[in-house]
Symmetry: C2
Subunit: 82 residues, 2 copies
């Protein structure tokens, strides 16, 4: 069966996010100063062939650990959407 | 009040996603060939000061249209998480 899996990879909370800070500055100069913080990460959508949702999740977690996320700087979250 | 708003910016379905294709190749060479498609976009978390969830959403939509997403190549989806 085919599963759609979403992975959100975000910079760890304790780390600076220079891209987010740059966007925050850009929003302020567009008069959108009610935005007080910005953090930017990746959103990855995988299409996975697997026997079950659990198997699809474990494939996505392995992919995240081995290729998609850098555990030193990023955390990831896997959601199987079916 | 402070709202947390998540924005998902993805390349439009009809467009090639070269970054996704590169990752798909990488996964195949890690023997993760049950992944048949990969698309990569951005995940942006905003902290917004607003009077209501509706106002927070409209600020995030304006930010997406004016700065965060390029409508020629990307679509975006806003979720207010409270």
């Amino acid at each position: 069966m085919t599963y759609q899996v979403d992975i959100r990879v975000m910079p760890l909370k304790d780390l600076l996010d220079p891209q987010g800070k740059a966007v925050l500055g850009g929003l302020a100069s567009l008069s959108l100063s009610s935005v007080t913080d910005v953090r930017i990460g990746k959103h990855i959508s995988l299409t996975v062939e697997a026997g079950s949702a659990e198997e699809a999740r474990s494939i996505a977690e392995e992919a995240s650990k081995r290729l998609l996320a850098n555990p030193v700087m990023e955390s990831f979250e896997v959601t199987v959407t079916g």
